[in-house]
């Protein structure tokens, strides 16, 4: 049982790490701000979500698990809205330069 | 070399880097940033002393930890005051430097 949980952790965290890498590659390679925002959102949502999922198999107690999930939800909500704000700034071209 | 020593050396270099920025950069806001970099380095040095004092089931000596927390808050207050002074200077002179000719 424990071994199975450890295996699930390894799989989920590895997948999460992969998405972080994908987000960084997108940030570096995509030509314009809007597609970079897209890449960033993917990394945010999936990478952290999978890492949290992996860690859920390790924590003890429902409160610790709840806190882990709320960290993810908070990042998701804040990240999505803020990314929208940045995307709007990029679209309107109101960069200070 | 232990992890604590490694971060101690990191803190030592940070203090030197921040001091350099404080002396060399002519813009006051950059000097404020450099001052905060020095602060981070000093706190790190102190934190290494705390980490080496781990005992009695605690991960570090709690007295330096409490002093570092106090230090971070006071450094913030000093930064806020410095920025208010700088913005007032800008309002009065229209300049963001400390040159004596303006």
């Amino acid at each position: 049982m424990n071994l199975a949980f450890n295996g699930l952790t390894v799989v989920a965290v590895s997948a999460g790490a992969f998405f972080f890498m994908a987000g960084t590659v997108g940030l570096l390679r995509f030509p314009d701000a809007l597609s970079r925002v897209h890449a960033l959102t993917k990394a945010d949502n999936l990478g952290l979500g999978l890492v949290v999922l992996g860690l859920l198999f390790q924590v003890e107690g429902p409160f610790a698990a709840l806190k882990l999930i709320s960290v993810w939800l908070l990042t998701l909500l804040a990240g999505a809205t803020v990314t929208q704000l940045i995307a709007r700034t990029a679209r309107l071209g109101t960069s200070p330069f | 070399m232990s992890d604590a020593t490694l971060y101690g050396l990191c803190g030592a270099v940070l203090v030197g880097l921040g001091l350099f920025g404080l002396i060399v950069n002519p813009l006051p806001l950059r000097k404020i940033l450099a001052f905060n970099l020095i602060g981070g380095g000093v706190f790190l040095l102190f934190g290494v002393v705390a980490r080496r004092g781990a005992a009695a089931g605690l991960g570090g000596d709690p007295i330096p930890h409490a002093l570092i927390i106090t230090g971070i808050v006071v450094a913030f207050a000093a930064t806020a005051l410095a920025i208010a002074l700088l913005l007032r200077l800008f309002r009065e002179t229209g300049r963001a430097t400390l040159g004596s000719d303006g």
């Binding site: 809205t81 200070p96 | 905060n36 790190l44 808050v73 913030f76 930064t79 806020a80 005051l81 002074l85």
Partner: protein, 310 residues
């Protein structure tokens, strides 16, 4: 070990970038990153209380303050960018700073073995305070006078900032009035985040008596949430001459000082607590102190009055 080496190198790299960036705005973003990485370092050094403080104040609120200042000073700084010190001064600075770093590094390498520590004493006396977090016990009991003076220092800094107000707006509204966002995204962010943030702030404050957390970290989050609703244009900052605001600001230090004085009568020394009531008294101090610190921090960020009181 490899992880720690990488993290240390990353911290140094971000520090160099913060100093070397041409644009101050970019330097400030470097500084926010620096604070975030330091929070990771504090976790590695088994100092979660410090990590919480660094994440909240060192990175978050200081970052917001510096971002605001850098955008307001931007054009003036672009004009002033040409002024560079001479080669001699730069060389002297390199020599001096290398010596300082080398000296500190030598001290780190030559620290005494075994390391001096007060951890056993702190752990042994913790039972007398009724607290479960040694750092909070230090802040609120063994070195409570430091904490009391710190709350006063914060107030003095605020008085210093307020005294920078020009005559015409004396006692007026701090900072600029932010317009509510026309497309509603900022309003949405504020309405969504602020209730969660207040909950997290209270939780971090409350958990501080038994686990990492405490009044400074909780207060910083509450302050950040107040600044957030002001930035989103949902509420305006109050004029600094308001009586309720002044009372809120001094309530924490005043209660702290009063209970400290009462210590003479009930426990025989300034800021001494009788063992049976130690935890109750500490919590009685902490609640108003948290609210006062939160208000002070938010107003420190808001800056001196810029608009006349109505």
């Amino acid at each position: 070990m490899a992880f720690d080496t990488g993290l240390a190198v990353l911290v140094l790299g971000v520090a160099v970038w913060t100093l070397a960036a041409h644009d101050t705005f970019a330097a400030v973003i470097g500084f926010v990153t620096y604070g975030l990485l330091l929070a990771l370092v504090w976790v590695r050094l088994a100092a979660p209380d410090v990590a919480l403080t660094e994440a909240a104040i060192g990175s978050g609120v200081t970052g917001g303050l510096l971002l605001g200042a850098s955008t307001r000073l931007r054009r003036a700084e672009i004009q002033a960018a040409g002024e560079k010190p001479g080669a001699t001064l730069r060389f002297a600075a390199v020599v001096l700073c290398t010596l300082v770093s080398a000296g500190l590094a030598a001290i780190v390498l030559l620290l005494p073995e075994p390391a001096p520590t007060l951890a056993p004493q702190a752990a042994a006396s913790m039972a007398a305070t009724g607290l479960g977090n040694p750092v909070t016990a230090v802040l609120m009991a063994y070195r409570a006078i430091d904490t009391l003076l710190e709350t006063v220092v914060l107030l003095l800094a605020l008085v210093g900032i307020w005294s920078l107000a020009p005559d015409g707006v004396w006692g007026g509204f701090p900072g600029r009035r932010h317009q509510a966002d026309s497309e509603g995204v900022l309003t949405f962010v504020a309405q969504l985040l602020v209730p969660i943030g207040i909950l997290v702030g209270i939780y971090i404050f409350w958990v501080g008596s038994v686990a990492p957390g405490g009044e400074f970290q909780g207060a910083t989050i509450l302050a950040a949430m107040w600044i957030l609703v002001m930035m989103a244009g949902l509420v305006d900052a109050p004029p600094v001459s308001r009586r309720w605001l002044r009372l809120l600001l001094i309530a924490g230090p005043a209660v702290f000082f009063a209970i400290g004085l009462a210590g003479f009568a009930i426990a025989g020394a300034f800021l001494a607590y009788p063992v049976d009531y130690a935890k109750l008294l500490i919590v009685t101090i902490e609640i108003p102190v948290t609210l006062s610190i939160a208000a002070t921090l938010a107003l420190l960020v808001a800056g001196p009055p810029e608009r006349a009181p109505k």
